[in-house]
Amino acid sequence: MKNNNPIWDFFASVKLALFTLFILSITSIIGTVIPQKESAQWYIDKYGDSTANLFQILSFTPDMYGSAWFLFLLGLLCLNLIVCSLERFPGVWRQIKADNLNIPVNRLEKMTPQHQWHSPIKPESVASSLKQALNANGWKAEERKVDDGILLFAQQGAITRTGVYIVHTSILIIFAGALIGSFLGFKGSVMLPETRTTDKIYAFDTQAPIDLGFEVRCDSFNMEFYANGMPKFYRSQLAILENGKVIKEKAIMVNDPLTYKGITFYQSSYQAYQEFLITIVNKKTGVSESAIIPYQQQQNMQESGIRLGIINAEGQGQSVIRMKIWFTDDNGEPSVFWLDNGEQATVERSTSNYTISAKQMYATGLQVAKDPGVWVVYAGCFLMIIGLIVAFFMSHRRIWLYIREDTDNMSSILLTGNANKNKADFEKKMQLLAQQINTI
């Protein structure tokens, strides 16, 4: 990979990385100040014609982070990461695989930290004892005879030199996951009324219908509020159908979606209708009848001939809390009474008693996403954390011992070493090691 191509060098430079990160930081601010993904009219109303126009020309609106120039910057960062890593990794790999016993003795003599001592035994015996001692301390030593002595070498964490490349790779994996998601996935939404089924949802950006390949039905939607009026939960009971058969059922809530065939349904919003689901049970005959009736419209039940309507309602916002029902079976005066939403009441008539329940109709707002890249992104994130820990907190530590014959079968021993990070910590460890082995 090493060559002197100026274009290659340009893309391999850290200067370019610093520059790109800097430009990305500065330009990213723009899209946080100018609201994104609003309509053209919204921008004109807010900023005036000419400014709105300028923003659009510069792609600041409506989607700066998806604009060509922003994606170009992200692409430049990726290219820079790739080239820079390709450029530097072979050198790092050589360092990991280096023959550390092939080192001039005078270089060892200049290295710090350094510990020296003497031993009354022959170099060969000293070397083998030291080797054993190092092994006992977790240092696997190699040995080689050199000029006029013996060299021992041991290292720990050589592979941690790859930490920074693990991080770089993880970023590329995250980008790859994002690309997979944007090409092979979709994001959309659907407003699905209770009891209804759909096999389509609508894309966020274009509103184009997207076929699900199966059907989803909303059996019911309900929500609850805390005493202070804050929402407690929104819950939709969903069913997945294939060929008219229910395959899967789940009550989804915010933070607890339903996934089927890689497509996930998220509880996102709701809409309250001015329609009510009414169920009437004749207690004498046991006959049950249901109908969806609009607000303030009289409904004739087909089988029983009962006529009823919701003549008044009280609520909070769009949500009805209780409603006033007008009910007659044409035997005597009509019954008029208040009923809480979702509750039931008994109506006593001269011919029979009826149980009547009423519930306001809702549509659940679902966000629907298919993102086959998400696990790639997560894998990249996981790798990034591993890489950051390796890159920042783990070091490559190397120690050398040079044993030389002194006089009369005596040995002189030199212990030295280095670490590529956390040098102070390494020096302490060397000190301890020297204390342990300098009696040999």
Binding site: V14, K187, N255, Q267, A369
Partner: protein, 284 residues
């Protein structure tokens, strides 16, 4: 005794801690050093009890949730993490002077939490979006990162003050600033604190992304909070690269530690009040 009283006491104990560290710094009263540390630890324990009690109280109210969900609670937690990270640094580097530049951040956070009229101190239940197991993981990791960056900025300020006085070589100042660690040491601790913060910020952004995906089906939507957290991440990424590959150090890194923390503050606080987005519930 309820949680708000304990948390209220914390404000004053951190003020007192700040004063103790300042006295050590200015008058070089070595005898006070251990006292300052012990006092800060006690203040920290009081705050821990306060936060724990608030958690317990939420269960008594039938709400039952971690006290990490609105601006008031997060500012209190921010102060807590600053002291936690500071105490670790003090223990690791055996220097108490950093306290002069770190503990005031915790005091300021607590003072803001206690006295600002804009923050609701009530324990309110969680809206549906916040009801997630990722809440604690996301908030805790982010704030460990933020706390480290706060201390790095404090160290940056310390470096610049000491550096200015050394270049001026005025004898008056050097007696006062003589007690500060050598520039090389400050530089090294600043760097290590930023590295520590960077790891936690990364985990914080990742847990946030996973949470967003489980709530909305999008792990990244370029909402202002997300974007600013990324900008902050870029600032520290630039700083670390400049140091590792271009040998930056000293004044430039000190300034970057300060710039980075300004970005943190904007991510944390500015976005909620000046911009709109998914995290807007944090605004009260």
């Amino acid at each position: 005794m309820d949680s708000s009283q304990l948390i209220g006491i914390t404000t004053f104990t951190y003020l007192f801690s700040t004063i103790l560290y300042a006295v050590i710094f200015i008058f070089k009263t070595k005898r006070l050093e251990t006292i300052a540390t012990i006092f800060t630890i006690i203040a920290f324990l009081i705050q821990t009890a306060g936060i724990g009690l608030r958690w317990l109280e939420s269960y008594q109210l039938g709400i039952g949730r971690a006290p990490l969900t609105n601006m008031y609670e997060s500012v209190v937690f921010f102060a807590w993490t600053i002291i936690l990270v500071y105490l670790i640094i003090e223990w690791k580097y055996k220097t108490r002077i950093i306290g002069v530049f770190a503990v005031p951040f915790a005091f300021l956070a607590m003072a803001y939490a206690s006295f600002s009229s804009g923050l609701t101190k009530e324990i309110v239940p969680l809206i549906p979006a916040l009801q997630s197991n990722w809440l604690i993981a996301h908030v805790v990791t982010c704030f460990i990162g933020y706390a480290a960056f706060a201390i790095a900025a404090g160290l940056g300020i310390m470096y610049l003050i000491k550096n200015t006085s050394e270049t001026r070589q005025s004898t008056n100042d050097s007696t006062l600033l003589g007690s500060l660690p050598p520039l090389k040491v400050i530089d090294d601790i600043t760097h290590k604190t930023m590295v520590f913060g960077f790891l936690w910020l990364s985990i914080g952004i990742i847990t946030g992304a996973i949470w967003a995906n489980s709530a909305w089906g999008t792990y990244w939507s370029w909402d202002p909070k997300e974007t600013w957290s990324l900008i902050t991440w870029f600032v520290y990424a630039i700083t670390l690269h400049a140091r590792y590959t271009r040998g930056w150090g000293g004044t430039r890194i000190a300034w970057l530690a300060i710039v980075g923390f300004i970005s943190v503050i904007f991510t944390y606080y500015g976005v909620n009040f000046l911009l709109s987005g998914l995290h807007s519930y944090g605004a009260n």
